[in-house]
């Protein structure tokens, strides 16, 4: 096992009864690296993401995280309290629908502050200042800090969700279709923002998407999935420019050219 990896999953399998969620998937992520997972609907992308985040229990395989103190933790072995603690400190999860990842009846500031308060911040002034800083970072007007996310546009909600997740400086962020359901100009804005934040803060990321443009823009490496299996993996440009597997070729060639 390499010692400088951040995150490693080996031979993960998840079954839904007779059906395969994902099968024998291995991947590793280095600090600061962005990994894209692409594939059609139902190919097991989201299942895989939820498995490696620890939301779904895996049937086979191991998941390792090299935590801040350089201890290697196995997600399939550690206790639930420990896992939940890691999920809200070292890791983060951005949902496709911001409504799943935000508390809609709590102000923007409260949404950002929640993770801080969860890890023990108890100073209102400080929490508010950090929240305001983060709103600025994700290009939401600071004057909206006390407004509820339900009054925000879809793009703003998504940016707020990103801020809420990044506020505790996680080292690895999981994103499930972060730009799905947004119109193209808003998508571009969010991708731009994500790219800057991920590079600036040196956060590693796993991005699940069916949009090849998203991975082209953000990812260093990608894996292509079909029917729960990884059929191709490699450097992003390499896979997208010279796909080897039949399905990858189909995927790449089906992108609309304008």
């Amino acid at each position: 096992m390499k010692q400088n990896f951040l995150f490693q999953a080996s031979n993960i399998s998840k079954y839904y009864g007779q059906n395969i969620g994902c099968k024998n998937v291995s991947l590793d992520i280095n600090p600061g690296e962005v990994l894209g997972i692409v594939g059609e609907s139902g190919s097991g992308k989201s299942t895989l993401l939820n498995c490696i985040y620890g939301n779904l229990e895996v049937d086979e395989g191991d998941i390792f995280l090299n935590d801040k103190s350089k201890t290697i933790l196995n997600f399939t072995k550690i206790s639930e309290p420990k896992l939940r603690l890691i999920q809200r400190s070292d890791l983060a999860f951005v949902h496709q629908n911001p409504r799943d990842g935000l508390r809609m009846n709590i102000s923007a500031g409260g949404n950002i502050g929640e993770r801080l308060m969860a890890i023990g911040h108890r100073n209102y002034g400080e929490i508010r200042e950090i929240a305001a800083n983060w709103l600025e970072k994700v290009e939401i007007d600071v004057s909206r800090i006390d407004d509820k996310p339900s009054t925000f546009s879809g793009g703003m909600q998504q940016r707020l969700q990103i801020a809420r997740n990044l506020v505790t400086r996680p080292r690895l962020i999981f994103m499930d279709e972060p730009t799905g359901g947004l119109d193209v100009s808003v998508q571009a804005k969010i991708l731009d923002l994500l790219r800057n934040l991920v590079r600036e803060l040196g956060i590693a990321a796993v991005i699940v998407t069916h949009d090849l443009a998203v991975v082209r823009l953000l990812a260093d490496r990608i894996i292509v999935m079909q029917n729960g299996n990884v059929i191709e993996a490699g450097l992003c440009d390499q896979v997208l420019d010279d796909p080897q597997h039949k399905y990858s070729q189909l995927l790449v060639s089906s992108v609309l050219q304008v």
Binding site: I106, N123, R128
Partner: protein, 292 residues
Amino acid sequence: MNEMSKNENLDIQIYNFAYLDENTKRMIRRALLKALCIPGYQVPFSSREMPMPYGWGTGGIQVTSACLIPKDILKVIDQGADDTTNAVSIRKFFQKTANVTVTEKTSDASLIQTRHRIPETKLKEKQILVYQVPIPEPLRFLEPRETETRKMHALSEYGLMYVKLYEDIAKHGHIETAYAYPVKTNGNYVTDPSPIPKFDNPKMNNSPAIQLFGAGREQRIYAIPPYTNVKSLDFEDYPFEAMKANFKCSICGSSDSYLDEIIVSDDGKRSYICSDTDYCKEQTKLNSKKED
């Protein structure tokens, strides 16, 4: 076991001592013991139908019923007062079914059932304070899933509780929550003190009396044993403040007891009086003695 014989002087000998049957009382006592062992933990119990509607203190009554012994002296208060509907009906209920002595004097009572107040007179050892609780789960309106709130308690994930206080300050400039103000019991479980005003919160801390909480509809019992640390949640820069209306009682003149605001005329004239009627009486007596 059967204490029926003690009820001989009752007209109708239908009910067991203190209404509930012995097995039910035993079940509730078991829950109470567990609750006392794990301060602040909500113990599920199989709440019974009581001869009054939910919201009238069915949880408190069941706890009282399980604790009551014939030589107990019972006091019942509702919002601090001995003479309001809820207090009167519950007091009568136990007079009828348990034939216990009742009192209005806090210091004489061995068991006090309360709705929404803690008496002003300092409680002492060997007294039991039974709270009627509408919603035992402090996280209920923040996280609707019971499975999730239980997990949050088990793992002491209380960030969300602070989000509520954060929202208060963001909206009102101070912590607006004025009743049912969340506390941390014994440095562990976040507990709902029932809808008592936050003015009463400090009285819960290190109290010599046993504090029992019963929620009938929600089927939960929890407890704070004597001399337990009870801390109201707050922020470093917005510390907890026990507050009350800044007036004097217009009957007894007390300025340190919790006051009720009463509108006394059509043009909105207000008057403030002690919510604790027993305390008010005591103070009035003391005042007239001083004048003599």
